[in-house]
Amino acid sequence: MTAKKKTPNFTEAFKELEQITEWFDSEENLDLDKGLKQFERGLELAGALKKKLSEVENKVEEIKKKFDA
């Protein structure tokens, strides 16, 4: 199945981004070095997620199995 390969999972990426955003809030005095790294990662995630948002198509497939059997 291509399910695994299919781009980074939106839910996971979003969750990671949320965690990073929370990290920025939880630190009273940000470690600047770590802050920059986190920021970079956050922007990367936000960018990937935004890109996913531009996916327009949903794939609708009718299941071949007959349910009137």
Partner: protein, 402 residues
């Protein structure tokens, strides 16, 4: 040919036996209730009538067999066994089951089933599951011909993308509906993890109780209850309700609403991403600013200390210059005064006026009586000096020769 003679009782037994050959189990007799009465809170009797053909069937049953409320004028279907009661010679239907028919009657049946399922806990809020915020696979159970199908997919596409929708085509009304819907639930739940949808949607357009019968069916309700995958149920218009709605984890008011509840909107999520990015940036900037601020403060502090020192120095310097400029002329005046005094007592000046100083061995003589006649003395004048010998002292000694 010998005629068979029977007693009345035996005859009626024979007739009753014959009546048992009527396929009662498979028959429902439909008519309108009249002359409904309950005797001694135990015996129920009513007439079942055809309005047009003036046919009457007398019905008899007990109150505990009567599970639904019926009343005169209500259309019902009854199931039971016909019998002639020997004592009164009357033909009656021994009723086992009464089923109301028509909208009002169905409503009644619906309420009863709802109560039963509710008591069993199928509607408990505590067992409702939350939906995944970003589902990737949706199991859609509805008819491909229903408007609900189109509505759901359209709103889904409007809001979100990249989702796989596995559509199980089932009838949503008619006699096949219940069986197909139940099988669709079983199918989705039988899939292994990577093929299994994140959420199931059971939906159809609105309709009367008769149209919605499948969504009010007990086995469909139980299939929803048993589903390991969270279920969203959406029937028709806002005001329509079905038992499926109550059992489902999430109840949507319409098929479009179901799509809204299942996927987020791009706009909302884009805004959220924007907000998070901005927030991170702000926090980072704040942190940098705070550090800059600390440096600034330190600089300020140092220059403040320097200023203070400078100020102090200036103050001391000013005070110094002020006092020196004050006391130097003063000293000059004082010195000049002293100089004058000193100059006035300078012995040289006194001698210059004609005085002389007499000394013996360098000691100034101020009292003549310390001297002796014949002693050598030194006399100093304003200009020059001499040495002499004391000849006469205070009138004593060698007479001056005149």
């Amino acid at each position: 040919m010998q005629q068979l003679v029977l007693s009345v009782a035996n005859y009626l037994n024979l007739v009753n036996d014959t009546l048992k050959t009527v396929p009662s189990k498979d028959l429902m007799i439909e008519g309108e209730v009249s002359d409904f009465r309950i005797a001694q809170q135990k015996w129920v009797s009513f007439d079942l009538k055809d309005e047009k053909e003036q046919a009457v069937l007398k019905c008899f049953m007990t109150t505990w067999q009567l599970k639904v409320q019926i009343e005169n004028g209500m259309r019902v279907q009854v199931k039971g066994y016909p019998k002639i009661y020997e004592r009164f010679g009357t033909f009656k239907m021994n009723v086992q089951e009464v089923m109301p028919v028509g909208e009002g009657a169905l409503q009644r049946a619906y309420q009863l089933l709802k109560k039963k399922l509710e008591q069993e806990g199928l509607f408990d809020m505590s067992r409702k599951r939350a939906l995944k915020r970003f589902p990737e696979r949706i199991g859609l159970i509805t008819s491909r011909d229903a408007a609900a199908f189109g509505d759901f997919v359209r709103i889904l596409n409007n809001r979100w993308g990249g989702v796989s929708v596995d559509h199980a085509h089932v009838h949503v009304q008619g006699r096949m509906a219940v069986k197909e819907i139940v099988e669709a639930f079983e199918y989705f739940n039988s899939l292994n993890d990577n093929e299994r949808p994140d959420v199931l949607v059971l939906t159809r357009g609105g309709g009367g109780l008769e149209d919605l019968h499948a969504f009010n069916d007990e086995s469909v309700a139980r299939a929803i209850y048993a589903s390991q995958i969270p279920v969203v149920c959406a029937v028709g218009h806002e005001r329509d309700e079905s038992l499926g709605d109550f059992v489902a984890d999430v109840r949507a008011s319409t098929p479009s609403n179901a799509a809204e509840l299942i996927v987020p909107s791009r706009t909302d999520v884009a805004y959220e991403l924007e907000t998070m990015s901005r927030h991170m940036e702000e926090r980072l900037r704040e942190s940098i600013d705070r550090r800059g601020h600390i440096v600034q403060r330190a600089t300020n502090l140092v220059s403040f200390v320097l200023d203070r020192q400078k100020e102090r120095f200036r103050f001391v310097y000013d005070k110094l210059t002020l006092t020196t400029s004050d006391w130097i002329p003063q000293i000059r005046i004082e010195l000049e005064g002293l100089g004058r005094v000193l100059r006035q007592v300078d012995p040289q000046r006194v001698l210059a006026r004609g005085y002389s100083i007499v000394s013996v061995d360098g000691t100034v003589v101020t009292d003549a009586s310390t001297l002796e006649v014949g002693q050598d003395i030194a006399v100093q004048f304003g200009a020059g000096s001499l040495e002499a010998e004391v000849k006469r002292l205070n009138g004593k000694g060698q007479q001056q020769l005149v």
